[in-house]
Symmetry: C2
Subunit: 368 residues, 2 copies
């Protein structure tokens, strides 16, 4: 059914800051480097690389991250060649990130087929995930800029949505992909309810699949300024000026998301519906949802003592693990790290930023 494929590369976007997982996440230890989800105990980034195998091996994985976390990132994915860890001199949102990585790969392999993936999501059903990935890559191979849309399970207002178009066919055969009517920004509650009922909208999970040449053409058409900047960086690539050109040009690139800058404007878009137990692990609440739980709904560390305690999340992430005893508490998040402890109800998980603000206001910058 599938044509012979071009070589497939992955670009993993790993520049996130992730303040919502304080005190585990820090400026120098962002969310994707934490083992937040149940199961393997891998950092989310390492799990992202691992679950691509055997479709895409680490030799063809490019990771885009920030200078300040380059070493920590490399340490988390030792199988990925260090030269393929690209460091942005400054964060400029996803369009510059994807355009740069795409051009870098295209220099090596102009016929490359590329999967762009977030580094900090969690997927339960990895076999189904790879099946969907194959379908998306096959769709990209015939010239569509393709995304995977997650089948919604709740009226979520925190994500963008993708409105499904007609089924796409290749040489008369349906290919399991749909056209895209439009990319929709985060809806209000009412619209989100409609989307859920209507079954014509999928969550935009930030996964993109394309031939390198198609993305380069789309960027050139819709973000010409970005395309020019990337061209300057690419010209200097391999020369003695490469590093200084990157440092000079990259921070001046337009800070725009790939969704807004390209996907909302491009033609020949496709979406492959996916239903593989996806979570963006957006907060300690999600970490609790994904965690292995005891009979009382507690997601605990091995040594935790829980007496008359229900539905709590305990995470011990310091170098020395302490025994954490919960007595008569419910629905709490308790996180211990080497220099800070957080105690809050699970339903305040979105408010961790208030702690970050407090740390900034009181000059406790070492804890950021």
């Amino acid at each position: 059914m599938l044509r012979a494929m071009a070589k497939v590369y992955a670009v993993i976007m790993a520049g996130g800051a992730g303040t919502r997982f304080w005190p585990a996440s820090r400026l120098l230890r962002p969310k994707q480097l934490l083992a937040l989800a149940g199961g393997s105990g891998d950092p989310l980034l390492a799990a992202t690389v691992r679950r691509l195998v055997p479709l895409i091996t680490p030799e063809r994985v490019v990771i885009v991250t920030g200078e300040h976390i380059a070493d920590a990132t490399a340490a988390a994915v030792p199988d990925v060649p260090r030269a393929q860890i690209l460091c942005e001199p400054a964060p400029r949102n996803t369009a510059p990130c994807i355009a740069w990585a795409t051009t870098t790969i295209a220099e090596r392999d102009p016929d490359a087929l590329i999967a762009v993936l977030p580094s900090d999501h969690f997927i339960t059903n990895e076999i189904e995930f790879r099946r969907v990935l194959e379908r998306a890559l096959a769709t990209a191979q015939i010239g569509y800029i393709t995304t995977v849309g997650i089948v919604p399970t709740r009226p979520e207002t925190g994500y963008g949505y993708i409105e499904l178009g007609a089924s796409l066919a290749d040489a008369g055969h349906e290919i399991g992909a749909r056209g895209v009517v439009r990319f929709v920004e985060k809806p209000n509650r009412e619209r989100a309810e409609e989307f859920l009922k209507g079954k014509r909208h999928l969550w935009n999970a930030g996964m993109f699949f394309f031939r390198a040449r198609d993305m380069r053409a789309a960027v050139a058409e819709h973000l010409p300024e970005l395309a020019q900047g990337i061209a300057r960086i690419a010209e200097a690539s391999g020369s003695v000026h490469a590093a200084s050109m990157l440092k000079t040009v990259f921070p001046t690139l337009p800070s725009v998301s790939i969704d807004h800058g390209v996907m909302e404007k491009a033609k020949d878009l496709a979406v492959v519906p996916g239903d593989f137990g996806w979570s963006d692990v957006g907060s300690w609440q999600s970490a609790w949802e994904l965690g292995d739980k005891d009979h009382h709904g507690n997601a605990l560390e091995q040594d935790t003592i829980a007496i008359d305690a229900k539905d709590n999340l305990v995470r011990s992430l310091g170098k020395t693990k302490k025994v954490i005893a919960l007595l008569g508490v419910n629905d709490l998040v308790v996180v211990d790290t080497d220099d800070a402890i957080l105690v809050m109800p699970r339903d305040r998980a979105q408010d961790v930023r208030m702690v970050i603000e407090n740390l900034k206001a009181t000059g406790k910058t070492k804890l950021l």
Copy 2:
């Protein structure tokens, strides 16, 4: 008003285990060695010694404790001569403790006047405390075995009570002391309510005042077996056999409280009412009550971050202090130590023993 006084000595009973303050209290770090109450930051034992000055200086303080915590005890009260820290080979309740300490002091000073005090209580009004102490010592000086009774502030079922008798006089002058009708064991709630209303019952706070000779006579009369054992220990005292005699005999002494063994039977008892902000610091709940609080009722450590948080107790007792962030939680106890963290509601403070039982059952004996 007072006669010329004999030399006054203090016996501080510091053998307690104090499992109710886990994870701060441990077998090797019992409650009296912890700085649990507000103010000075002294361990309770050190505060007990300090508040006796200038009435009784450390040179005349005897501390009775256990072998296993002898060094830690000595370190907490460096002003008390090491020879005056008596180590019981085994805990045998308060009667053997007091009889032994009394005999030891009597060998040095047969006319000694002795104040026996717990090591792990907290007193807010130290000036009033010393005034009451002077009155109790003056009463003991004329031959009464005297106690201080705390004026009740609530229908407490956790303490013994002392029923007040007639006012006592010396040479026609009232001395601020009362006779004792009886010592009453811990009452049920109903009786405790009656006691509070009747104003004729005081809390037994475990403080005793007597001439050495009066206590020795009372022990000889009411606990002859104990008196004989102590006599054997005393005879060997100073000889090469002292240590082995103590080790042999002490563990065989009757394990009985001074209240039950002596006070409930002795004649010539007196009680001096006291109202000086007393607390036995019986649980983390008491520690919260006694702690310095912010405007929201939180008793915190210096570095604690409290956001939308009310009426919590935070104690950080490890060698390295972590920043503890409370977000949206009320009425909690959060205690951090070097190897364990406890999180519970304040109103479960009495149930800390459940954690101790769990530690024993799961073999986590290092944390006991």
